[in-house]
């Protein structure tokens, strides 16, 4: 009965002694290829070493994944990784490296998740290092309750049973043969923002504050199609879904969601799901809290009541200021966060910059994002990137010139139901200081006179 480990982690989070300019290899005492590259670059007199932030993966602290043995194909040839040492002084004077089997980032760009915890852990998307609205697949946040399940797709089966005419087992091939759909939507852990709410620190980056949200294009079979295959019976009002991981994580959601827009997703951003995100298939419930989107889904039961599983009773319920706890609070509230400028950025006075961030809501589309550059005294309507998609991250932008004085930046999302992102004070009054999920209040950033930007802990 482990604790949630969504207390806020980020590689820009300098409060834990995890400095963003400090390679993780040094902390772990590991000699890695990247470390050697960095050393080479440093000895070459490159100032680029400072641009090599923590490589987040820390395999030494991870338990070896248990589970069925999976026959790994032999590794692809050259992955196309580029090295700083290969960067010529003048790229126009010599041909570059050839094509490669797999693409790689520029050696100057090293965005990384920030993994925390063992077995029951999470890793955060580096929101402040991303632009646009699509999260690259290798930077999608993780939240696991018993580690990453490694599943052989040839052995994968999904059982649908309960209040159905024809209890049926679907293989992955079966799912892929059925009519599929693609949709772009966000997925956010309902514990996102817990660290910022419970133990805020000035040195938190957007990754540390809200990195448990990602967005991209999912492809799969609508649950409604599968419901027709099995024939849902009268009286079925809840879906109980179970994962094939070592926690056999289970959640219940109303059957209406299954008929509306749920899917069994098997791909993300154009390729099969990654193991950490549910390979080979997961439940996708657009707009619902991440935990209910059961990864590695292996069983769905149609029932006349919720299962009252651990993760919908003792966890993932919202204690409220009025002395009750809200249950099945599945829909994510309207929310936004400025991703730049934000910690650890530093601004130049009297120079133009761009305030930008993401907004999202579990209730349709974002219709407006207001930005304040004076601590909430006044607001300006930001530009929204078109097309604004329902239940997806929406990018907002506002050009701005900082006058060099201390100020506070804020963003405030408004969705198509008219929901307005509340202030921290309004949030505390309604939900209570002890509430535990759905931390959807306005995020604020302090710009100090020296240009340094910090997370505002008390606004």
């Amino acid at each position: 009965m482990h604790e949630d480990e969504t207390a806020g982690q980020g590689k820009g989070d300098t409060a834990n002694g995890t400095r963003s300019d400090h390679p993780a290899e040094e902390r772990n005492g590991l000699v890695t290829r990247r470390g050697l590259i960095a050393a080479a670059a440093a000895s070459a007199g490159g100032a680029i070493l400072a641009r090599l932030p923590a490589e987040a993966q820390a395999p030494a602290t991870r338990a070896a994944p248990a589970g069925p043995s999976v026959q790994a194909p032999s590794p692809a040839p050259v992955s196309g990784a580029f090295e700083l040492a290969d960067v010529p002084a003048d790229p126009t004077r010599a041909p570059g490296p050839p094509t490669s089997a797999l693409g790689a980032r520029s050696p100057f760009e090293t965005p990384a998740r920030s993994p925390a915890g063992v077995l029951s852990g999470s890793s955060y998307t580096p929101l402040h290092e991303l632009t646009g609205t699509v999260t690259p697949s290798d930077l999608v946040f993780e939240r696991h309750h018993a580690g990453v399940a490694l599943i052989d797709p040839a052995k994968y089966e999904l059982l649908i049973h309960g209040l159905v005419e024809r209890p049926t087992v679907f293989t992955l091939d079966d799912l892929r043969r059925l009519p599929s759909e693609s949709r772009t939507c966000f997925l956010e852990c309902s514990g996102n923002g817990r660290g910022a709410f419970k133990t805020p620190k000035r040195e938190m980056s957007p990754q540390a504050v809200d990195g448990l949200t990602s967005s991209g294009e999912w492809t799969g079979v609508p649950l409604a199609v599968l419901f027709r295959e099995v024939g849902v019976r009268r009286g079925a009002s809840w879906i109980r879904a179970e994962g094939g991981d070592a926690s056999r994580l289970s959640r219940s959601v109303p059957v209406e969601k299954g008929l509306a827009d749920a899917m069994i997703a098997f791909a993300f951003n154009g390729e099969p799901l990654r193991p950490a995100n549910g390979y080979p298939a997961r439940l996708l419930l657009p707009g619902y809290e991440g935990n209910a989107n059961i990864k590695w889904v292996r069983r769905i039961e149609l029932a006349d009541s919720p299962g009252m599983f651990r993760d919908e009773t003792s966890k993932y319920t919202d204690p409220l200021a009025n002395g009750t706890a809200r249950q099945f609070s599945l829909v994510m509230d309207a929310k936004s966060i400025i991703t730049a400028p934000a910690h650890p950025a530093r601004l130049t006075p009297n120079a133009w910059t761009q305030i930008t961030g993401i907004a999202w809501t579990g209730r349709g589309k974002i219709v407006r994002v207001d930005v304040s550059t004076d601590g909430g005294a006044s607001w300006v309507v930001a530009d929204l990137q078109a097309p604004v998609m329902s239940l997806a991250h929406t990018r907002f932008r506002l050009p701005w010139k900082w006058d060099g004085k201390r100020t506070v930046l804020m963003s405030r999302a408004v969705d198509e139901t008219g929901a307005i992102q509340p202030t921290l004070a309004e949030f505390r009054a309604k939900r209570g200081a002890g509430t535990d999920y759905h931390f959807s209040y306005i995020r604020s950033w302090v710009v100090e006179p020296d240009g340094q930007v910090f997370f505002a802990v008390d606004v």
């Binding site: 604790e3 915890g117 049973h161 009519p179 009268r234 070592a246 926690s247 039961e301 809200r326 809501t361």
Partner: protein, 224 residues
């Protein structure tokens, strides 16, 4: 769109959608094609996509035996509770052997650092505060089985499916009953003399049972 979906839902739940007509999420492709190309004259050999069957007949029938083997859910109405039983005294021994290393000897939570490779384990025992349910107001309160979990069946379900964290699925049904009995007795919810089985467990009323409310958020200008 909404009306069509609701209409389809009614038909589906009514069990009436069996014929090979074209309804539901894939419905009416001819109409869709007409809407998209209505103003354009399609070449004579290009047609709207034909209607689709209600069912594609994909997948194989699940056998009762494989459903029983996979379905480990235990729900508040007692569904899924297996034969077997256990007492708090038996549970104390099992807990000491298989749970206490992480959760503490009395279920009080981890005292020192957790064993290598496992996360810190929470406190399971504690009834305070006995008055009210101030978890929303007081961030310092620690939620336990005794003061927060609304259903005893959830303890059985969760322990059997996910504990011990590093060896899930290894406890016998009698051991699970015994661990649940131990935890409920430690939380002063059942007497130490009570043996838990499928009948007695489903009858246990948890202190926090009435404190949970359904989601009343609906969007709109009022923040709830």
């Amino acid at each position: 769109m909404r009306a069509r979906r609701l209409g389809w839902l009614a038909a589906l739940v009514g069990g009436a959608v069996l014929a090979g007509c074209d309804r539901g999420p894939l419905a009416d492709r001819a109409t869709r094609t007409k809407r998209a190309f209505g103003a354009v004259r399609l070449p004579s050999n290009v047609h709207a996509a034909p209607g689709l069957p209600v069912r594609f007949g994909v997948g194989r029938a699940a056998t009762p035996a494989e459903i029983v083997a996979l379905d480990v859910d235990v729900t508040p109405d007692g569904h899924g509770l297996p034969p077997g039983s256990g007492t708090p005294t038996q549970g104390a021994a099992v807990f000491a052997a298989k749970c206490a290393a992480c959760h503490g000897a009395a279920g009080e939570g981890q005292a020192g650092p957790p064993p290598a490779g496992v996360p810190p384990a929470p406190k399971l025992v504690g009834r305070d505060p006995r008055d009210g349910f101030p978890f929303g107001q007081d961030p310092e309160l620690v939620k336990t089985v005794g003061n927060y979990w609304p259903y005893a069946t959830t303890v059985f379900d969760y322990v059997r499916r996910a504990m011990p964290l590093t060896a899930p699925g290894t406890l016998t049904n009698d051991e699970v009953y015994a661990i649940v009995a131990f935890l409920l007795a430690q939380n002063e919810i059942i007497d130490r003399s009570v043996a838990l089985d499928s009948a007695t467990l489903v009858a246990v009323r948890m202190p926090a049972r009435e404190k949970f409310v359904l989601d009343d958020r609906k969007g709109g200008a009022t923040f709830r």
